[in-house]
Amino acid sequence: MGVTGTPTNINQGSKTKGGIGESTLRPDGTLKVTGEFAYSSDMWHEDMLWGHTLRSTTAHAEIRSIDTSEALAMPGVYAVLTYDDLPTEVKNYGLEIQDTPVLAHGKVRHHGEPVAIVAADHPETARRAAAKIKIEYVELPVITDEASATAPDALLIHEGRDDHHIGHVPHPNIVHRQPIVRGNADEAAKRADVIVSGEYVFGMQDQAFLGPESGMAVPGEDGGVDLYVATQWLHSDLKQIAPVLGLPEEKVRMTLSGVGGAFGGREDISMQIHACLLALRTGKPVKIVYNRFESFFGHVHRHPAKLWYEHGATKDGKLTHMKCRIVLDGGAYASASPAVVGNASSLSVGPYVVEDVDIEAIALYTNNPPCGAMRGFGAVQACFAYEAQMDKLAAKLDMDPVEFRRMNAMEQGTLLPTGQPCDSPAPVAELLRRIKAMPMPPEQQWLAAGEQADVRALPGGLSNTTHGEGVVRGIGYAVGIKNVGFSEGFDDYSTARVRMEVINGEPVATVHTAMAEVGQGGVTVHAQIARTELGVTQVTIHPADTQVGSAGSTSASRQTYVTGGAVKHTCENVREKVLEIGRAKFGSYHPAWATAELLLEGGKVVTDGGEVLADLVDVLEGESVDLELEWRHRPTEAFDLVTGQGNGHVQYSFAAHRAVVEVDTELGLVKVIELAVAQDVGKALNPLSVVGQIQGGTTQGLGVAVMEEIIVDPKTAKVRNPSFTDYLIPTILDTPTIPVDVLELADENAPYGLRGIGEAPTLSSTPAVLAAIRNATGLELNRTPVRPEHLTGT
């Protein structure tokens, strides 16, 4: 019998094991290390077909004709579909603006745009059939930059635009424009003793998640379809898929299959609609798996950007003003460009106090590859530029760059350029102090005492190109600010369903959300939250699907905050119901049932004083509690379209980096020796995962600093390097040790005080590495990635 009449003090060690704050291990870890975890490309079905996409070989052209007859006649081919085969009047989709054709019609607007799809009984048959489709193109001039996009007589990428941004953009080839004016930058500039300006170029980065776009559509007997797919937001996909198929949303049943990384690259639709169309047409399950080449065309990239900045400061080191203009290349379709513009503009000042600002950010429509969400979302590009400016100012004032930043660092209460006060801790100065205080890695590690150089540790590594003669060291610092969650008035909510019952004599909680686990560890923390709130050890995480309400996107560092918040909120309500049952059953045994604050801990109902009142097993025997509730963070508001003023963001996260690099000035090669990070995470729900996220984000920032760039031919707008041979991401040899210093200053508005983590470390990593290379070489270096020719002047 679990009900006790005698109070038992359980204060010591009574807290439920595996709750928040512990480094619990991933629930899917064993499946992932044994190869049993089913990623979206691992789906298999009896009698399934393989889908393949035919993509445009040109960036801008009218389509004269498409002839599919030869492809269709091939043995093993079941369907070949083009625009004409789409079942309804809805032929486009899109995250914010429905401007992306499911299959090209009339024109193609970028290299690699889907034109036709094929289903066949072998992937190679599908590929060969696609190659037999004949398309007649009439080439159009390509628009690839601001000048060609906004020329008065420029061809319009999208004719007849009627989206809600068209009214306030200066040219129809501009997707969105956000100015921010606060104070008077021109007046304030007069107070400046020094003024620095610069033009910066940020290259096009790819998310390069390892698990390719893939999934399987299975036609249902009711005329609907079941789709198993790797995505970041099931319900957003569903909203875009159902209308194109002409099906009500209930007939498109989506289940998340294993996701091999995302980083923003799965926010947009890729193969989802194509697989469904082919499955519905053939009546058979259809699997589509992109190869790496196709993956580079199958998702949007990080916006490349040009940024012009001007800053002033007084001779005692106070910033006077900032003016900037940020031009983001959104490519052929809008994707998330409007929101990226909002972020780039509102975070363009960085984590500094500057009262007088004049800011403009725009995103262009061009014939370059479409760009959209990627980790850091608009804030990354700005951080690259403002941090370079901070170093320039410090140098001009002959001040220490970290000191200069600390003098101007924002803090809790500082107004952002949008006029919004930062109402939670903003430990910018403290993060900089910590990063500077970290011990330095030893000099010339490649030179073992008195011995020959270990070439593996030199820039250039095993290629044995040098023994260290031309190697110099540099140190660089950077700090950044990123908003957490969806901003600008977006109704950013999540839903959680929590069930509590007794199974095999044990109390068990089941958590069901539609959250996409993309590797970030949401499934781990959801179980931790449920254990903390419900006092049970056994928590089952239900697979994510559309049978439960939307969880919103796994992006913008928001999932632990918002879906974690929803799980917490639902658990709290489940707990109340459990206690009601307890009161009804056992209330008469102990007065505390009616009077005390009651908790669930270690499988028991306890008072806040630690008295055990009942075992959960006894309370729940014969009963279960099941609730589905929504939860949202505080509302935000849109930025004014003229002044940029508005309380647009809900929370911020901050990270600082110190980079130590060694540069071989003769060869133009860089080795990053160490990339130390300090970050405030509010509350580390799972310290192990927190550190893993920070290190992963840091490495992506390192990649864009020294190697990562999608190269688009400026004359033809064709992608030149869609492969892992030519698009380089850091290997274990390119990645240094990444010591992490985690600060936990709670945001009292957030669940448990937590702060979104995933993106901030990607911001400051890149400018820190650039600053270190500048420090080592004395070169100006205003573009990323830095290539050997920039360092050797060849």
Partner: protein
């Protein structure tokens, strides 16, 4: 064509294989062993790393026909493979698995697809414990490569680990925890040997 080979200790036969099919395709789509991953199919990422007669190779670069009569170990067979090796050590035959040993090795009777009776190799457990798994897509390839490193070199330096794993891309972790995992597995292996 027909290809006969041994996968994780079991004789397998694949029929109607196209000339162009890779070992990776045959494993994933014909044998029902999707543990080896398909991230580039170009030999650049290492996600598909398997051992062919003991040697780590990118399965995407091996034509299916090339494996006729040979032995393949995939991540699905890693635990059994490691156990077999350990038992070899216990009898005094330490110093890695010889080709002959690898060939004589037999999988236990369970179905490798369901993972029934999962027992993990030390390197698998270390990846979980060290937090080296995030999305996990790179994990199978890294495990096969790391296990082979530890078989060759029981006490690898960081430089050795980096060199051995430089053909395996990971986009999520920043590699630090992968290094931790390999160090952890090496340390545990050493402790175990001391105990013997």
């Amino acid at each position: 064509m027909r290809v006969n080979f041994t996968v994780n200790g079991r004789k397998q036969e694949a029929d109607d294989v196209w000339e162009g099919e890779s070992l990776l395709y045959v494993l994933r789509e014909r044998m029902g062993l999707p543990g080896s991953k398909n991230a580039c199919e170009q030999g650049e990422c290492g996600s598909c790393t398997v051992r062919l007669d003991g040697v780590p190779v990118c399965a995407c670069l091996v034509a299916a026909g090339q494996v006729e009569g040979r032995e393949v170990v995939t991540v699905e067979g890693l635990a059994d493979f490691a156990k077999q090796r350990e038992e070899g050590c216990a009898t005094g035959a330490c110093g890695g698995t010889s080709l002959q040993e690898a060939q004589q090795w037999q999988a236990k009777g369970t179905d490798s697809q369901t993972g029934e009776g999962d027992e993990l190799a030390p390197i698998q457990q270390a990846f979980i414990d060290a937090g080296a798994v995030q999305c996990g897509f790179c994990t199978p390839g890294l495990l096969v490569a790391a296990d082979e490193l530890l078989e060759r070199n029981a006490e690898p330096s960081d430089a050795d680990i980096r060199e051995a794993l430089s053909g395996n891309l990971c986009r999520c972790t920043g590699y630090e925890k992968i290094l931790d995992a390999v160090r952890l597995a090496a340390a545990r292996q050493e402790r175990q040997e001391e105990a013997v």
